[in-house]
Amino acid sequence: MRYPANGLGGIFKLLQTGPPAPTGDNFRRKATSKRKLMAKLNINGTVRDVEAEGDTPLLWVIREQVGLTGTKYGCGVAQCGACSVHINDQVMRSCSIRLSDVQPTDRIVTIEGLSPNASHPVQKAWAAIDVPQCGYCQSGQIMAAAALLKKTPKPTDQDIDAAMTNICRCGTYQRIRTAVHMAAADAAKG
């Protein structure tokens, strides 16, 4: 299939121009596959069989084939980060990763699998200071923050500026910053 020039947003653009966003978009890429693919995905510690075209974005496989809807669609072009998941502990924007580029050995973690009972320090901090407003972007924000803390347990404001690039239209940014610091302090206490 040939995409129209103004066509399929993210995927097409990424193939043409490479990643526009700072996180989650430098995932390995093979040749495009429109062919239907039977794939095994390791999501939240469970290996699942999925069936979709090889060029289906991981986001839509997670939402529509696997049925985990905590990972959100916001832009489809790796800009907003609402679709953020962890792949092998790295935060990635799943809207711009194709199913055919994911290996069965890749460990994918979605918001649903981040912790039992929302017990991750990031989730606890988010609850403590009521970060969410509408909540739609917060799965992605939380996944981005958790990945940041894994890599940088005591982030500075500059670290947070660099890592937390997800869009929130309600404007919860100030509380996100506070909550990331709070989660870091909480995690340090053990």
């Binding site: 299939m1 399929l8 289906t56 918001i111 929302a118 969410p132 909480d186």
Partner: protein, 735 residues
């Protein structure tokens, strides 16, 4: 952690919650869908809620849990928490045993609108329902107390109640709400008019920074937005409306989709759009992208930024206007003034860009219609569902789902519901979920109206403002959405914030000779309310120009304003509050400058002090924003602060980046790679100053956004000496 135990979780477990029911059914692979609350049966709720309905607002369960009903929509603004606080305050129940439950518009209709208006816009959610919801809570308390008094055969006046425990002091007996609820429900309710509400000074739950009741499921992915709804057999639709507003579908080549996986049907939606229905949304979207569509673009295709700007510019000097306020003779006073100041400002179209794009799921059964809609006005959604499907209102209902952002996009404009119904008509008995792509969402918004403004001022030889003329030329929201709001060609809505009338959006300045008028100039681009609506543009015009005039008068911007605000003590009090908290007049680090602004909208008074620096390369950095609001009653100070913080982010995005460019009759920037949104790194430190005067009820979600841009622009003016008269800043060379 500030809080660990007793998290109040919004009730998603009762059978009344259709959302939970449906999701549960889908997970279990069940098919038992549809209405479980019989229409017209007034007692249905009491039976199905898993507790006893004491009155429309309060259901008490056996374990003393109080379920408090909420009619308004939640899109992040905290209205549910605030309304529950108000009811709980009067109810005197245990806050740790409170749950919230949303009612549907079908239920409201069936019970003669016992829950009142459901529309959630204009920052009205709390201020226009606070009275009756508090009376609802108080009436329930009276019924519960009377039931206990009857049981013990003692005068009700001898009873006290705290945290849902009723005590009879003389006999040392006590009982709980859960134990007397059934008896209470059988009593005749008091006349709400006879109820004396609590003095806010004695509030214990309302007025306090309670944590939100709806946070838990936003932390683990379990919250179900409309876009997440799962139903057995559901099909998904992607849609493309003619990119040129007003254009139509000419033809499309459906044969090109032959053999594409999962595709069920191509549907022409009205005359203007084409939708593809498939088993998954991604397949529907992929097929739609592959579908060649020929458009009849119509007359709008010749419009562009330049033609629209010309249209507005002509309105700046037009003779006839579409509404005005005046006192004295402004034009004459300016003509004869010792010093004149004149400027032309402009602001662009803006998109709402809710994080959750427009979507709706519709299921048309043989004799009923239901929909899952992220809606700021579920009654408007209900009306749209009925109108588009032909199913009578009484056999329609809208399932309650919270919105992934609203900002004014999803209130009166139910275009996406009409589309989803049109598609679902082709699939009777099958649920259809229509999701707009981000590109479609950007291409077919009801945009913040574009306008230009010409301002002229006259100063006397002492630098006093003797005359002011403000001419706004731009698009009318009423012309797009509410033509009946334009009476005899007059449309004062576009002058919001500049009005003479007190109480809602009054201009806070007293000028001896004043003329403010509006000239309507409409392009083919549809416009609508956008968080803060017309206060945004009008505050930029008025508040930035006031700084220009103050400078011409050789006066400090704060002092210049104060001299005009004598008859407006409430406006002035908030201005003074931010000036004090914002250290107005005190030294700043090198390169940092302050700007100030005040304005009124949605019944509340707002002001801001911004601290801004401009780099040698012209890059703006906003360091600190001190934001003040008097919303009358402060129901939840922490949530007010959250709204103020959010308004800074929304307002700064507009100030720095926001602009919807028009070329060949269509929107140009269709995703966040080109329609830039401010990120966390650019978020300034926000300090919120709440100064409630407790003598009125004002809004919260919108009022403060309008002072963000002018305070920042005024700080830039202080930094560079050059006024910024057009937005966004990304287009303005500052150095």
């Amino acid at each position: 952690m500030k809080k660990s135990t007793n998290q109040i979780i919004r009730d998603n477990s009762s059978k009344l919650s259709r959302r939970t029911f449906v999701v549960g059914s889908a997970a279990a692979g069940g098919l038992a869908l549809g209405f479980h609350v019989p229409f017209g049966a007034t007692s249905a709720l009491a039976q199905t809620a898993g507790g006893t309905e004491v009155n429309a607002w309060v259901v008490v369960q056996g374990d003393d849990t109080c379920i408090i009903r909420v009619a308004r929509s939640e899109m992040g603004q905290g209205t549910i928490t605030g309304l529950v606080q108000l009811v709980a305050e009067e109810l005197e129940c245990d806050w740790h045993k409170v749950k919230a439950e949303q009612v549907t518009p079908g239920q409201n209709l069936a019970r003669k609108r016992v829950w009142g208006e459901m529309s959630t816009g204009g920052s009205r959610g709390i201020r226009t329902s606070q009275d009756y919801v508090r009376r609802g809570g108080a009436a329930a308390r009276q019924l519960l107390l009377r039931a206990a008094a009857d049981e013990w055969e003692v005068p009700v006046a001898e009873l006290t109640v705290e945290n849902g425990i009723i005590t009879h002091g003389p006999s040392k007996r006590s009982t709980s709400y859960g134990k007397v609820a059934a008896a209470a429900a059988r009593l005749t309710p008091p006349d709400p008019k006879t109820i004396t509400l609590k003095d806010p000074k004695s509030w214990k739950i309302a007025g306090k920074p309670m944590q939100r009741v709806d946070t838990a499921d936003k932390l683990d992915g379990s919250k179900v937005f409309a876009i997440d709804v799962k139903l057995p057999g559901i099909l998904c639709a992607a849609i493309k409306d003619c990119p040129v507003f007003g254009g139509k579908v000419k033809s499309y080549d459906e044969a090109r989709l032959a053999g594409m996986p999962g595709v069920k049907k191509v549907v022409k939606v009205k005359d203007t759009a084409v939708a593809v229905v498939a088993d998954t949304w991604w397949r529907a979207r992929s097929a739609l992208e592959a579908l060649p569509i020929v458009w009849d673009e119509g007359a709008g295709a010749t419009a562009s930024d330049a033609t629209i700007a010309d249209l507005l510019k002509e309105g700046l000097t037009a003779t006839a206007n579409n509404g005005e306020r005046k006192n004295g003779d402004a034009l004459k006073a300016i003509e004869g003034a010792a010093k004149k100041v004149e400027a032309v400002y402009s602001t662009p179209f803006l998109a709402h860009a809710t994080m959750e794009p427009m979507n709706a799921t519709v299921l048309l059964g043989p004799d009923k219609a239901e929909a899952w809609v992220p809606s700021q006005n579920v009654e408007a959604s209900l009306a749209a569902l009925s109108e588009a499907s032909g199913v009578p209102l009484a056999k329609c209902d809208i399932h309650r789902v919270d919105l992934g952002g609203g900002f004014g996009r999803r209130g009166g404009t139910q275009d996406f519901v009409h589309q989803a119904v049109a598609i679902a008509k082709e699939f009777p008995g099958t649920p259809i979920k229509l999701i707009w792509s981000r590109e479609e969402d950007q291409a077919h918004d009801f945009y913040r109206p574009i306008s230009q403004c010409k301002l002229s001022a006259g100063l006397d030889d002492k630098g006093n403002l003797v005359g002011l003329h403000v001419r706004v030329s731009g698009q009318s929201i009423n012309a797009t959405l509410n033509p009946n709001g334009i009476v005899n060609g007059k449309d004062m809505r576009q002058l919001q914030g500049l009005w003479a009338e007190p109480g809602d959006a009054q201009l806070g300045y007293d000028v001896p000779n004043l003329l403010i008028d509006y000239v309507m100039r409409n392009s083919h681009v549809p416009v609508g309310p956008w968080r803060g609506v017309n206060t945004n543009q009008n505050a930029v015009y008025m508040e930035c120009f006031i700084d220009e005039v103050a400078k011409a008068a050789g006066k400090d911007p704060l002092e210049f304003r104060r001299a005009l605000m004598g008859p407006h003590p409430k406006h002035l009090a908030v201005l003074n509050a931010v000036a004090e908290k914002g250290d107005w007049g005190k030294p700043l680090p090198a390169g940092v400058h302050r700007g100030i602004a005040q304005f009124m909208g949605y019944g509340s008074y707002s002001a801001a002090v911004a601290e801004v620096s401009v780099s040698d390369q012209g890059k703006v950095k906003v360091h600190r924003m001190v934001m003040g609001i008097n919303c009358g009653h402060a129901v939840n100070p922490d949530q007010i602060a959250a709204q103020v913080e959010g308004s800074v982010a929304y307002g700064l995005t507009a100030t720095l980046y926001g602009e919807c460019k028009v070329k060949d009759g269509r929107m140009v920037d269709l995703n966040f790679d080109s329609y830039q949104i401010m990120r966390l790194a650019e978020m300034p430190k926000v300090e919120t100053v709440i100064v409630p005067s407790y003598d009125f009820w004002g809004g919260v979600g919108e009022p403060t956004i309008c002072v963000v841009a002018p305070s920042v622009l005024n700080a830039i003016y202080a930094a560079t000496g050059k006024p910024v008269r057009q937005l966004p800043l990304k287009n303005v060379r500052l150095v």
